[in-house]
C-alpha cells in the first residue's frame, strides 16, 4: 500500500478522491440540486448497495477460480457447473430440512469432495498440459450441465431465505430527509446484507490463511514456483487437493447465495463462469484482493448501469474488461 502510494502519487490521490466522493454521496443527505441531477438518493443508494452485494456474490465464485488458477495454472472452465450444482443441492437441502444455514456446510463439503475427485482423477493425469486441461474442463462443463438438466429439469429454482432474513432492514444510511426535517433511513433486503457480511468474513479469512499460516505460505510458494517447492520436499499434490477442494466448495456455496437472491436454471453456469472470468481478468489472475476489487467493480457497473443507462448496461462490463486488457493486461492487482 505505502509503496504503491510512493510509486504512483497522482493515481493514489485520484483513487482517494473518488472514494471520498462516493462515501460523501452515500452518507450525506442530498441537496435538492443534486437530486435534480442524479435522481432520488434512494435509487442511487439501492444501486450502489445492489452493486456491492452482487460483487460479493461474484467474489465468492471468482475467488475459488482465481486461487485454482494461481496455484495450478489450470483454467477450470467447469467452475460454473460447480456453482450450479451447489445451488441445486442447496435448494434440495433447504427444502427438505427447512434450514437454509445447514445447506452451506453440507454443500461446501459435497462440492469440495467433487473438486477433490476432479483434481485427483482428472487434472493430475495431465499436469502441466494447460491446453489439454482447459479442453477437458470445457468437456466436463458440458457433461455436468446435461446431467444437471436431467436431474433437475429446465425450470427455475429459487431458494427461500429464512424468516429472520426475509424482508428489508434499516441501514444507518440516510435515504431522504422530508419537508419536516424527519430523517428516513435506507431500507434494504436483510438477506443481501447478510451475504455481504459473510463474503467479507470469508475474504478476510482467506487473506489471513494465505498470509499468516503455514498452509498459506505453501500456497504462496507454489504460486511463485511450484517446481522449487516440490523439489524442497513439500508434497505439493496435497496442497493442490486442498486448494481445489476449497475453491470448488466456495463455488458451491456461491450457488446457494445466487439461488437465494437470483434464481437457478440451466445456463446460469456459463453466465457465472463468464462473470468470474471477467472478474479475474479485471482484478488480476491468481490474486484474492484482485478478485475482490474486480468483483466490486463489475457488480457496481452492472447495477449503476441498469439504473442510469439501461440500454448500455450490458456493454459496461466488457468495456471495463477491454480497458483493463489494453492498459494493464495483467489485471489491476496482477503480478507480471
Amino acid at each position: 500500500m505505502q509503496s504503491f502510494i510512493q510509486r504512483h502519487p497522482a493515481w493514489s490521490l485520484l483513487i482517494a478522491l473518488a472514494a471520498a466522493v462516493l462515501l460523501w454521496l452515500i452518507f450525506a443527505p442530498w441537496s435538492a440540486g443534486l437530486e435534480e441531477m442524479l435522481g432520488r438518493k434512494r435509487v442511487f443508494l439501492n444501486a450502489v448497495f445492489g452493486g456491492i452485494t452482487l460483487g460479493a456474490l461474484y467474489f465468492l465464485v471468482a475467488s475459488g477460480f482465481t486461487l485454482i488458477f494461481g496455484l495450478m495454472r489450470n483454467v477450470n472452465l467447469a467452475h460454473g457447473s460447480l456453482y450450479l450444482l451447489g445451488g441445486y443441492l442447496g435448494f434440495e437441502i433447504s427444502e427438505r430440512t427447512g434450514s437454509w444455514l445447514l445447506a452451506f456446510p453440507v454443500v461446501f463439503i459435497v462440492v469440495g469432495l467433487l473438486g477433490i475427485v476432479l483434481q485427483n482423477q482428472v487434472f493430475r493425469r495431465m499436469e502441466g498440459e494447460e491446453l489439454r486441461q482447459t479442453m477437458v474442463t470445457i468437456g466436463l462443463s458440458v457433461v455436468i450441465a446435461d446431467l444437471l438438466l436431467w436431474a433437475w429439469g429446465g425450470q427455475s429454482y429459487t431458494i427461500y431465505s429464512p424468516d429472520w432474513l426475509s424482508g428489508p432492514m434499516s441501514l444507518p444510511v440516510i435515504s431522504s430527509v422530508n419537508d419536516e426535517g424527519e430523517i428516513r433511513y435506507l431500507r434494504y433486503p436483510a438477506v443481501r446484507m447478510a451475504i455481504l457480511f459473510a463474503a467479507i468474513v470469508i475474504g478476510i479469512g482467506m487473506w489471513l490463511v494465505l498470509n499468516k499460516t503455514r498452509l498459506g505460505m505453501l500456497v504462496r510458494a507454489g504460486v511463485d514456483d511450484r517446481e522449487m517447492l516440490a523439489a524442497s520436499g513439500v508434497r505439493i499434490q496435497y496442497v493442490f487437493l486442498a486448494v481445489f477442494a476449497f475453491g470448488a466448495g466456495l463455488a458451491g456455496i456461491a450457488g446457494i447465495v445466487g439461488g437465494t437472491f437470483q434464481s437457478l436454471s440451466p445456463g446460469e453456469d456459463t453466465r457465472f463462469l463468464l462473470a468470474s472470468l471477467v472478474v479475474v481478468i479485471v482484478g488480476g489472475m491468481g490474486s484474492i484482493p484482485g478478485a475482490a476489487i474486480g468483483a466490486l467493480i463489475i457488480g457496481l457497473s452492472e447495477q449503476l448501469g441498469l439504473v442510469y443507462a439501461p440500454t448500455y448496461s450490458v456493454v459496461f462490463t466488457f468495456l471495463i474488461m477491454a480497458a483493463v486488457l489494453a492498459f494493464r493486461p495483467q489485471g489491476l492487482l496482477g503480478q507480471g
Binding site: G50, S156, T158, S161, F261, L306, T311
Partner: protein, 421 residues
C-alpha cells in the same frame, strides 16, 4: 437408344415432384415449426395439433387427401426461410403452416412475396410488423399479434380493480414493446395514467436498483418480463419488502414461471394477465377441443392441456381445411379461390370466432386471467374475463393507429391517447 432411355428416365425423375404436385387427389401441407431451441417443446405441440386437426377432418379436405411434410427450424429467420424454400421447391407443398416465433414471421412475410402462387398461414408468430408493415398478399394470420394480446387488460384493471396509476417495468426488446403497447393503449384510453416506464435488458438478473426506483404512489406495477427474468424480479421484489399490486404481461404468468420451484412466484397471486387463451375457458368449443387433444395423444406425449403454440397451429390447420372444403379443393389459378375462401367468412375456432381484416390479420378474443393458488402448493391461471373482437388497430382507426407510431420505448404516448378518446 440406351442414352435416350436414360435421358428420358432422368428427365422423368426430375419432373416427378412437379408431377406429384399436379396430382389431383392430394393436397400437401408443409408444417414449418421450431423443433430446436427454447421453443422446441411448444413446436412439437404445434405438430401434434396439426395432426389432430387433420385427423378430425378424416384426413381429407375438399375431397382430397391431406399429406404433411414437417420442416424443422431453430427459430432463426435464415433457417426458417431455407426450410420454407425446401418445402416449396423440393417437397412441392401447396400451403405452408408456420412459423412459430416473431422474427421468423417477419422473414416469412418477405419470403411469401417471392412465391405468389402459394399460400402461407401463420403458425403462432406474433410480431405486429408481420401483417402491419408492408404485408404480403398470400400471408394469412389467424392468431392475434403481441399488441392485441395486451388489449383488454387495461380496461379490466381500471374498471374492475380500480387501479388508475401504474409504473411499468418491461423487457427492452421488440416483444416487450409490442405487448406493452397493447396494454398501454387500452389502459390509457380507459383513463389510466402511466407514471413512469422502466425498460430492462433481456436477461437481467439483478433488479434491485429498478425496484428501488419504482415510485411509491402508484396503484400497481405492470411487469412485461418473462421466464427467468420474471422469477428473479419477483424474488428480489419480495426481499425488498415491496407490496404493491402487480399486473402481468402475456408471458409473465405462463407455465415457465408458474412451474418454477421455490416461493418467489407466490408474489404473483392475484395478478391479472392477458393472452391468447384461458385454460379453464368454459366455452364448449374450447372444452371439446381440449378433450379431443387429451384423447388423441397418450398422457406422456403431450401437455396436460394444449399450449399456446399448439392452439396456434391447430387454428391454422383448421383454417386451411375449412377453406379447402369450401372450394372443393380447387387450388388452380395460383390458389386465388383458396385465398378468397380463407379471407371471406369468420372461422369458428376453439378460441371463439376469428375474422380477418384487409391485411389478412385476425380479429378475435383476448382472455384475461388471474393467478390463483391451486390449493396444492402450486399456482394456476383462472379466467376472469375476456375482450371480444380485438382488432389489429386495437379499436382505433387505421389513421390513429399509424399516427401513434410503431411500438417503442416512448410509444404509445399515454396522455395523448387519454385526451384523444
Amino acid at each position: 437408344m440406351k442414352k435416350a432411355l436414360i435421358a428420358s428416365v432422368s428427365v422423368g425423375a426430375l419432373l416427378l415432384p412437379a408431377a406429384a404436385m399436379a396430382q389431383d387427389d392430394t393436397v400437401k401441407l408443409g408444417i414449418l415449426v421450431a423443433l430446436e431451441g427454447a421453443f422446441a417443446e411448444g413446436g412439437a405441440d404445434g405438430v401434434r395439433n396439426v395432426e389432430l386437426a387433420i385427423q378430425q377432418a378424416g384426413g381429407m379436405a375438399g375431397g382430397k387427401k391431406i399429406e404433411t411434410v414437417v420442416a424443422p427450424t431453430d427459430t432463426t429467420p435464415d433457417t426458417t426461410v431455407r426450410q420454407a424454400r425446401k418445402l416449396i421447391e423440393q417437397d412441392g407443398v401447396d400451403i405452408i403452416l408456420g412459423p412459430l416465433s416473431g422474427s421468423e414471421g417477419i422473414a416469412m412475410r418477405d419470403y411469401a412475396k417471392t412465391i405468389p402462387d402459394k399460400t402461407v398461414i401463420n403458425g403462432i408468430s406474433g410480431a405486429l410488423e408481420t401483417t402491419w408493415v408492408d404485408p404480403a398478399e398470400n400471408f394469412f394470420r389467424f392468431n392475434l399479434d403481441g399488441a392485441q394480446w395486451g388489449a383488454g387488460l387495461g380496461t379490466y384493471v381500471v374498471k374492475e380493480k380500480g387501479w388508475n396509476r401504474v409504473a411499468t417495468v418491461a423487457a427492452d426488446y421488440s416483444f416487450g414493446y409490442t405487448n406493452f403497447l397493447g396494454f398501454a393503449v387500452d389502459f390509457c384510453r380507459a383513463g389510466g395514467e402511466i407514471v413512469e416506464r422502466f425498460w430492462v435488458p433481456l436477461g437481467s438478473s439483478d433488479f434491485g436498483g429498478v425496484i428501488a426506483a419504482l415510485p411509491d404512489d402508484v396503484d400497481a406495477i405492470y411487469l412485461g418480463v418473462g421466464g427467468t427474468d420474471a422469477i428473479n424480479f419477483l424474488n428480489q421484489y419480495n426481499q425488498a419488502g415491496a407490496e404493491t399490486n402487480l399486473i402481468g404481461g402475456t408471458i409473465m404468468a405462463d407455465q415457465t414461471v408458474l412451474t418454477s420451484r421455490g416461493r418467489a412466484k407466490d408474489a404473483l397471486i392475484g395478478t391479472p394477465t392477458s393472452g391468447a387463451l384461458a385454460e379453464d375457458n368454459p366455452d364448449p368449443a374450447w372444452r371439446e377441443y381440449v378433450a379431443a387433444y387429451q384423447e388423441a395423444f397418450p398422457e406422456g406425449e403431450r401437455f396436460p392441456s394444449p399450449s399456446l403454440f399448439g392452439v396456434g397451429y391447430y387454428v391454422a390447420a383448421l383454417a386451411a381445411i375449412d377453406a379447402l372444403n369450401e372450394i372443393d379443393g380447387d387450388l388452380s389459378g395460383g390458389q386465388a379461390k383458396f385465398r378468397e375462401a380463407l379471407a371471406d367468412d369468420p372461422l369458428d375456432t376453439p378460441l371463439g370466432p376469428v375474422s380477418l381484416n384487409e391485411n389478412r390479420q385476425a380479429t378475435g378474443t383476448v382472455f384475461i386471467n388471474e393467478v390463483q393458488d391451486d390449493g396444492q402448493g402450486g399456482l394456476k391461471n383462472v379466467m376472469v374475463g375476456k375482450a371480444e373482437n380485438v382488432n389489429q388497430t386495437l379499436g382505433m382507426t387505421v389513421e390513429e393507429f399509424t399516427a401513434m407510431g410503431l411500438p417503442s420505448r416512448d410509444t404509445p404516448d399515454c396522455a395523448a391517447l387519454a385526451s384523444g378518446g
